[in-house]
Amino acid sequence: MSITAQNVTKRFGAFTALDNVSVDCPAGELVALLGPSGSGKTTLLRVIAGLEVPDSGTVHFRDDDITSHSARDRNVGFVFQHYALFRHMTVFENVAFGLRVRKWPEPKIRERVKEMLHLVRLEEKAEQYPANLSGGQKQRIALVRALAPEPKVMLLDEPFGALDAKVRAELRDWLRRLHGELKHVTSIFVTHDQEEAFEVADRVVVLNKGKVEQYGTPITVFEHPKNEFVMDFLGNVNKLPVRVEGGRALLGETGTVELPAKLFGANENGRTDAYIRPHELDISRTAEGGNCLLGKIVHINPAGSVVKVRLLAEDFGLMINVDITPDRYRALALKQNETVFVTPKTARIFEPDYTI
């Protein structure tokens, strides 16, 4: 079932949590609402769930306008960041709750709850109370409790936010597989972790200050960020001041290093910023193409799948982060305080009418 939020605005007093937001989630997809805290992502999720009433705008499930429907009539599975398990009920009764209030016959309830507990491999915990479960187990129970009444829509509010890194990665994986198995369920989840969004979601909605900054598949959003905010929010980025002269982007006030960036008409002859991700820069010992800047190595962090090198470009007074492969790092035999050449492979300049 597709979910459409149209021109949704929500204010809390003087604070505008959502400012004319429109989002469209195709049926069966897993969509991530990604943004920093205060961006309105949780509010949007709660508006879709019916836990929050928008000041204006509509929410549609398929073609039905459900804006005025109560949360209980939307048949939505909602998963809370802090689980919200019913503390005085056993795990079994927690999962059965949604079926009991919907008046399922008892044998069907037993069957469904067993099936759900089997899905998360927690059958042996059926008679335990939530207080006796670990964080990861609680969140899995919260997930199947929401799934038990067979909702067409699953909404997850920072579902893994309260868990430690390893459990988080496991559950992320599991959610991805589960969503694949559950045909016809459309899921939206909220996260502030871009890695999580990219790993799990079919589509990503980047939110900032109550507005949608970009909407697309993880690969488009990452490779073609629409503006400075998205570029900056999705991982590390070097922000370099440039001046535009005769259709060329030149680094610094007087420098002659040209950045390989696509320019917009409005950039003609002025000052702006160029954005380069750490892996889009290369380090070499010789000034191969000539179009490179000098940098003194300040710090090297070789622990990880990429080697992170931090350099000071003294000519420009800039700190630059570069990621290189461990192979390249060994071949170059880099050491601290050495001066090397840094070559930009690509760079991005955004349309200047965008203001943060």
Binding site: L51, A71, R72, F86, F97, R102
Partner: protein, 289 residues
Amino acid sequence: MALTPTDGPTRNSRRSDPLWVRVTLTSLALLAMTVLVVIPVISVFAEALADGLGAYWNNLTGDADTRHSVLLTLMVAPLAVLCNLVFGVAAAWAITRFQFRGRTLLVTLIDVPFSVSPIVAGLMFVLLFAGWGVFGPWLEANGLRVLFTVPGLVLVTTFVTLPFVARELIPVMEAIGPDEELAALSLGANGWQIFWRITLPNIKWGLLYGVILCNARAMGEFGAVYVVSGRIAGETCTMPLQVEVLFQDFNSPAAFALASVLTMLAVVTLLLKVWVEGRKKSSAVENTP
């Protein structure tokens, strides 16, 4: 709950206080308790039973007005508690689950009965319901009376004990938070189902605790009831009022006998309170989600 590291140092420092300090403080506390609480309570029973059990029983049951006062209190107090139960739950729910204009004002107003002297509370109701009062003429025109009647007693008792249930529930419901109720809502439960199956089980010990305190206060209420009841023997005299009537009539054996019943009710309440407190604590520890 397991001892947290912060418990350690305070315990040790207490243990390291000089002996004379510990002995002096402990004896002072025990002395004060004995003089102010233990001796008076025992003397009530001693005085009541001075002429033997038979006389005691006779004092309690022989007089129709005394019998009536016991029954009246056992009727007025539960009714006032019931009113407070409904009001307290509704107020706590509204205050902890909704943001609305006047929320802070409501929180403050709930405490007014605690800060107003009961006698003033009684006078306030006289002002409202007397023939010349605000509602008096209207009530009279409709053949209704509040002053000097049982409904009037219930009304002032409810007023005086208003904060007990709400005050007890607000922090409990705030600590639990609205997430479980919202989860139930999204799972398809209606308002009643949410209240009976989710909210009530979570707050039941806090609620019971509030009810017990409220009941203790309601049974012992004197000042406000004194003003509103008109002290009609056999009609509007509750137990505390009857104790006073008997005492003024120089019938101290009967006064003390009735007082001992009130005291016993208080002791039972106290025991119940201790038991509920224990349950409240253990359920809070066991069931942290």
